[in-house]
Amino acid sequence: MYKIVTRRELVPHINLFEFSAKEIAAKTKPGQFVILRIDEDGERIPLTVASVDVGKGTITVVCHEVGKSTKQLGNLKQGDCILDLLGPLGKPAEIGKLGTVLCVGGGVMVAPLHFQVRAFHEAGNKVIGIIGAKSESQLIFEDEMREVCDDLYVATDDGTRGYKGLDFLKELLKERKIDRVVVMGPVVTMKTVSELTRPHGIPTIVNLIPIMVDGMGMCGACRVTVGGKTMFACVDGPDFDGHQVDFEELMARMKMFTPQEKLAFVFQEEGGRRL
C-alpha cells in the first residue's frame, strides 16, 4: 500500500498527488514514469514523475482525469492508499550541458516537463520554456516553470491567454539559436513541434505516452515506429527523436480501446452495476 501524503487540485480535473514511496523516490530521474493501480480490479495507470523528495521519501505525479481510472484516482483523498506503485520505469531523459534548450509542454504534461527543465537549468543550460493548455483555466505549473526558465512563453488553443496556438514558434525558431528541443504533451503538439523544428535541423526529443499495460517490456502494447523500426516505448523510451516517429500510427493506436473505455466510464458513473 502506498499512502497519498498530499492531494491538491491544481485546476478542475487536474490533481497533484504526492505518494509515500521511499525506494522509488531514491531512484527516479527526470523523464521516468511509474505505474500505479488503485485497487484489486484497477487498471495499470502510467504517470510520469513530476518531482521527487528523496529526504521525505515521496514522489509526486500530476494526473488529468480523462476516463474511468484517472477519475477514480481523482476521487481519492489525502491519507488514502493505493494498492500498487511500480517504478521507476523507462529510461531517464538525457540531461547535459547543451547550450540553449527549448522545452515545450502541453496540458498536464507541463508538470513532469518541469522536472526536466529544472535539471536542464541546474546543468547550466539556458532554458526557454513554452507552456500551453486548451484554455487559460487549464494552465498549470506556470510559477514553477517561471522559476527555472530563462524565458517563458504561454500559449492556449483558444487564445484566452498568451499566444493562440503554436504558430509563434516559427518566428521563435528563426530568431533564436536553439540546440535542443524537448516536447511533452498531447501527440498533436509533439507532431506539430517536430514538424516546425525539422527544417531547422534542431534535435527534437518527444516523450511518447502510447497505451501501456505492463510497462516493463513484456506486452508490446506500447510499440511505436521510430525511423522505420518498432520500439517499445516503455523500455526503449519514452523519449524518442521526434523527427523519426510515426505519429499517425501512434494516434491510431492510442484510440484502440476508445469504445471500451467509454463503456467503462459509463459503468463507473452508474455506480458499478452490471451493464
Binding site: 525506494e23 522509488i24 531512484k27 493501480r37 480490479d41 484497477g42 487498471e43 495499470r44 474511468k68 481510472s69 477514480q72 494498492l83 500498487d84 506503485l85 511500480l86 517504478g87 521507476p88 520505469l89 499495460v213 505492463d214 516493463m216 517490456g217 513484456m218 506486452c219 508490446g220 502494447a221 510499440r223 511505436v224 515506429t225 518498432t230 523500455v235 499517425e248 500510427e249 491510431a252 493506436r253 484510440k255 484502440m256 480501446f257 471500451q260 473505455e261 463503456l263 467503462a264 459503468f267 463507473q268 458499478g272 452490471r274 451493464l275
Partner: protein
C-alpha cells in the same frame, strides 16, 4: 497370502471435463479432476515397475511409485507429502506439465495401453491438501544468510521455497503486482485457476519467504546493488519479451502480441470488464499466429470473449506443434480451427488504422533444422488473402533483457539468455540463474528443476563460505 494378479487395464480412467459447448462461454476450469474413486482406480492400473522409468522422465524426479502406492492405500495426506519432497507446486504441475513428453512418455503401461495419468494423480492429491489447509513442514534453524530472488515465476518460487526450507532468508523481488510469472499472467483461468496459483504462492510465504511485488530489478535495484545486501542472488526473470515477425502492418490496431492479449485477459481480468477496469478488444474473425501453448491459450481466450471464428495459423504441421496434446484436443472440441503449413506475409489495414485482412503464403516442410523439426519453406505464388479483424501473434518469446543490460559482468549469449554452469552459477560470484532466462522459453517444471538445482548450489556456496 498371495494376491491374484489383477488384469491389466489398458484405458486410463477418463477425467471429467466441462461440456465443450458450455465451456466456450465461460472462464471456469475445463478439466474437473478425478474423484476419490477415480483416482484410486487409475492408481490401480500401475504395473509397479522395478526400475520405474516414469521417475526418470520427470525433471524433478517425483517419487511416482510411492505416490501411486499411497493413493492405492487412500493415504492422501502422505501421498502429497511424498510429492512435495520434490515438487513445491504440485497442483500447478499436475495441470500444466506436458506429461506426455515427460513422466508419462516412458511409462511402461504406455507401451501396451494408455500410460498412467501421473499428472492427474498429482493434481488430485494437491487439490486434496489445498481443500484441507496446507501443512507447513518443519523448518531448519536459521542460518542468518540472505538470498535475493529475482522473479516470482516457477523458477524463483521453487528456489525460494527450497532455500527457506534450508534455513536461509529468501526475499523475492517481482516486478508485476502478483507472484506466479507466466502462471498468473499467461496461462488462462480455465486451464489453471488463479486461486490455485495464489494458494501455492501463499504456501511458499508460509515457509518464511518474503515476496516483494512491484519491484523491478534493474530499475529499482541492480543485481550489483542486491549483492551488497544479500549473500547470494538467484535470477529467474523468465522469457517474456514478445517476438514479432517484422512484416508490414504488424503495428495496426487489432494486432496484439499474445503476451499483451493474455496479460489483459488473465492478469488484468479483462474477461470481467467493465467491473475489472482493463479492456480488451476481440472482433469476429480472429487469427492466432503460432503453434505452441501460447497460441492455444490465446485462441481459447478469444473464443470465450465472443469471437465468431477463431483460427490458429501455424507454419509447420500438426506433428511439430510444441504444445500439450490435451490442450489441442480441448481447443478443437471447442470449435477452434487449425490451419497448418501457412504463414502470414502482411497485414492490411483500413483507413482508421485497423487490421482488416491478412495475406498468407502456403508452406511445405523441408529438412530438419537446429530444433530437430522440419523446416518450413514458403511455396512461391501460393499467396492468398483472408479477412480478419483481430490478430494475435504467438510466435515465441525471448528473454527479458533489463537485467542483462543493467548488470555489470554478467555473461550473456547472443540470444540474450544468461550463461550458467551445470549448477546454475553465472559469471558473477554469488549470482545464480535458472528457468526461461537461461534456457529460453521452456516448461514450468524445467524452470522449477532449475530453481531447485540452483537452490542446492547456493546452499553449498553459503555454507562453505565462512
Amino acid at each position: 497370502m498371495s494376491k491374484p494378479k489383477p488384469k491389466i487395464k489398458k484405458e486410463a480412467v477418463v477425467m471429467p471435463k466441462q461440456d465443450p459447448k458450455e465451456r466456450g462461454g465461460n472462464f471456469d476450469e475445463v478439466a474437473l479432476g478425478y474423484t476419490e474413486e477415480q483416482v484410486v482406480a487409475e492408481a490401480e492400473r500401475c504395473l509397479e515397475c522395478v526400475k520405474a522409468p516414469c521417475v526418470e522422465g520427470c525433471p524433478v524426479e517425483v517419487d511416482i511409485p510411492a505416490l501411486i502406492q499411497l493413493i492405492r492405500e487412500r493415504k492422501f495426506d502422505e501421498a502429497i507429502r511424498k510429492v512435495k519432497e520434490k515438487n513445491s507446486l504440485p497442483a500447478i504441475c499436475g495441470r500444466v506439465c506436458p506429461q506426455e513428453t515427460q513422466c508419462q512418455a516412458s511409462c511402461t503401461m504406455g507401451k501396451v495401453g494408455d500410460p498412467i495419468s501421473v499428472g492427474r494423480l498429482e493434481r488430485f492429491v494437491a487439490d486434496w491438501e489445498r481443500k484441507r489447509g496446507y501443512e507447513v513442514p518443519q523448518q531448519s534453524a536459521s542460518t542468518g544468510k540472505r538470498v535475493a530472488i529475482v522473479g516470482a515465476g516457477p523458477a524463483g518460487l521453487t528456489a525460494a521455497a527450497d532455500l527457506a526450507k534450508l534455513g536461509h532468508e529468501a526475499v523475492i523481488f517481482e516486478a508485476l503486482h502478483k507472484p506466479g510469472g507466466v502462471l498468473i499472467y499467461g496461462i488462462p483461468e480455465f486451464r489453471l485457476p488463479k486461486k490455485i496459483v495464489e494458494a501455492e504462492a501463499e504456501y511458499i510465504e508460509k515457509l518464511g519467504v518474503t515476496i516483494k511485488v512491484n519491484a523491478m530489478i534493474g530499475k529499482l535495484y541492480t543485481i550489483n546493488e542486491l549483492l551488497e545486501q544479500f549473500d547470494a542472488v538467484f535470477i529467474g526473470s523468465g522469457a517474456g519479451l514478445p517476438r514479432f515477425m517484422r512484416i508490414p502492418g504488424e503495428n495496426l490496431c487489432g494486432v496484439y502480441s499474445a503476451n499483451e492479449f493474455l496479460i489483459r485477459v488473465n492478469l488484468m481480468k479483462a474477461y470481467d470488464f467493465p467491473r475489472a477496469a482493463t479492456p480488451v478488444f476481440v472482433g469476429e474473425k480472429v487469427a492466432v499466429i503460432g503453434g505452441g501453448n501460447t497460441a492455444m491459450d490465446s485462441a481459447r481466450c478469444a473464443l470465450r470473449l465472443g469471437a465468431k471464428e477463431v483460427k490458429i495459423v501455424y507454419r509447420r504441421s500438426r506433428q511439430e506443434m510444441p504444445v500439450r496434446a490435451e490442450e489441442v484436443e480441448n481447443a478443437e472440441e471447442e470449435g477452434i480451427a487449425l490451419e497448418f503449413l501457412t504463414n502470414p506475409t502482411k497485414f492490411i489495414g483500413n483507413d482508421r488504422g485497423w487490421v482488416k485482412a491478412m495475406e498468407c503464403i502456403k508452406m511445405r516442410l523441408g529438412e530438419p533444422d537446429a530444433s530437430g523439426r522440419r523446416r518450413p519453406i514458403p511455396i512461391e505464388g501460393s499467396e492468398f488473402t483472408r479477412d480478419v479483424d483481430t490478430v494475435i501473434m504467438a510466435i515465441g518469446r525471448t528473454p527479458n533483457p533489463i537485467i542483462q543490460q543493467t548488470t555489470k559482468g554478467l555473461e550473456v549469449t547472443k540470444w540474450g539468455t544468461i550463461v550458467v554452469d551445470e549448477n546454475g552459477k553465472t559469471s558473477i560470484e554469488g549470482v545464480y540463474a535458472g528457468g526461461d532466462i537461461v534456457t529460453g522459453q521452456a516448461t514450468v517444471i524445467s524452470a522449477m528443476g532449475a530453481g531447485k538445482k540452483a537452490a542446492k548450489a547456493i546452499h553449498q556456496h553459503l555454507t562453505k563460505k565462512k
